[in-house]
Symmetry: C2
Subunit: 223 residues, 2 copies
């Protein structure tokens, strides 16, 4: 059990050397590739060092241990992910259009190779590093939920939707977007949604959502 993880990992997952140094970047990049491609257990520090073009001792000079490096990677990826989340700023576009566009971008994001990879590696190690899962959940699903909720609350206030509980509505909308596509991609990496299915799924989700939450008799100017 070489890759058993003792605790919640070192609290400082920072490189010991200068943060922006060239080698540090090379190591982080190589580690990201290896960890997301092969997972924690199947990635050796030798392989990381080789891919980064440095010696193994250099890797250890920058990161105390393998777990330390892993935590640094995950935190780094979470920051990237959070920045890449689709927004929904256009308040004047018809709600249906915004929601469809949002769903499309959300699904494309969720099922991109990078996001699936980070999900996989987190799920795999979550039992031994619970803190990482929480970090990812906050940076990903929770952040997304907050953004959508704010948007839904805003258009509700403007009377474009009738929604008592924006938190519930957000959960429902995102769940309808996802369907089982995300889980299926995680379980079967060779599976990809058939062409057109993403659009069909988002359209069906928005249609269902609006049947519930659209105001009683609005002039339908969304299509």
């Amino acid at each position: 059990m070489t890759d058993r993880i003792s605790e919640a990992g070192d609290s400082d997952a920072q490189p010991r050397a200068a943060r922006g140094s060239v080698k540090t970047t090379q190591i982080l990049d190589a580690a990201r590739q290896m960890f997301t491609a092969n997972g924690f257990g199947a990635t050796s520090m030798d392989a990381v060092a080789r891919l980064a073009g440095v010696s193994k001792a250099t890797v250890y000079a920058h990161f105390h241990s393998k777990e330390n490096l892993f935590v640094a990677i995950v935190q780094h990826e979470c920051r990237r992910l959070e920045r890449a989340l689709p927004g929904s700023e256009d308040i004047d576009t018809p709600v249906a259009v915004t929601l469809r566009r949002l769903g499309h971008r959300y699904l494309a994001f969720l099922m991109s190779a990078e996001v699936l990879a980070i999900h996989r590696v987190i799920v795999a190690e979550a039992a031994r590093l619970p803190a990482l899962g929480r970090i990812l959940f906050q940076a990903g699903p929770a952040a997304m939920r907050t953004r959508i909720e704010a948007y839904l609350a805003r258009v509700s206030m403007r009377g474009q939707l009738v929604m008592e509980d924006p938190a519930l509505g957000t959960q429902q909308l995102l769940a309808l977007f996802r369907g089982d596509m995300q889980l299926r991609c995680l379980l079967d990496p060779e599976w990809r949604p058939p062409p057109g299915d993403v659009r069909r799924q988002t359209d069906a989700a928005v249609a269902m959502f609006l049947k519930i939450y659209a105001p009683p008799a609005p002039p339908d100017n969304s299509r």
Copy 2:
């Protein structure tokens, strides 16, 4: 990379010894515990042998390799899971009641420790053993979908629901049941849904579902 997996694994994941033998059962049981608790990479054959109370050579006498043993475990668990899926047989109970009960059992099932564990270990190794992911998806989500779809089609034929596309309706219903609870449990093993949330979520899902698919003006005899 000792735990890199070359191919789709041996096609026969059967023990070489008699199937029902006591030692075989002990080994399978020990391996299930270790794999689901620690994942593939972090589980050593030594540990399995020790927990099973046999020697390592005996383990190898029953299963050609570590991957072989892993595949056998996953297949075994999938059969167990499929048998444990909640059914929906009572055709005369009001639809709302059946759906609420179904959702409750579905969520309890999805978030049981055993199901989460097998999901985790599959997601972790899916990149290297894609066949396993497909097997689990067929045994789990796909099988569940088929059952619900058959039920929804049946009650639709009896006029208790108005639904053009039972496949779509099934996807929507299950997605609403899950929300983000499953993913959150996978990412953060220490997180559990707050008491009452499961019921609230299923009730909200059924309410939304029926607002869409209930017949126009039925005598509401479900509550």
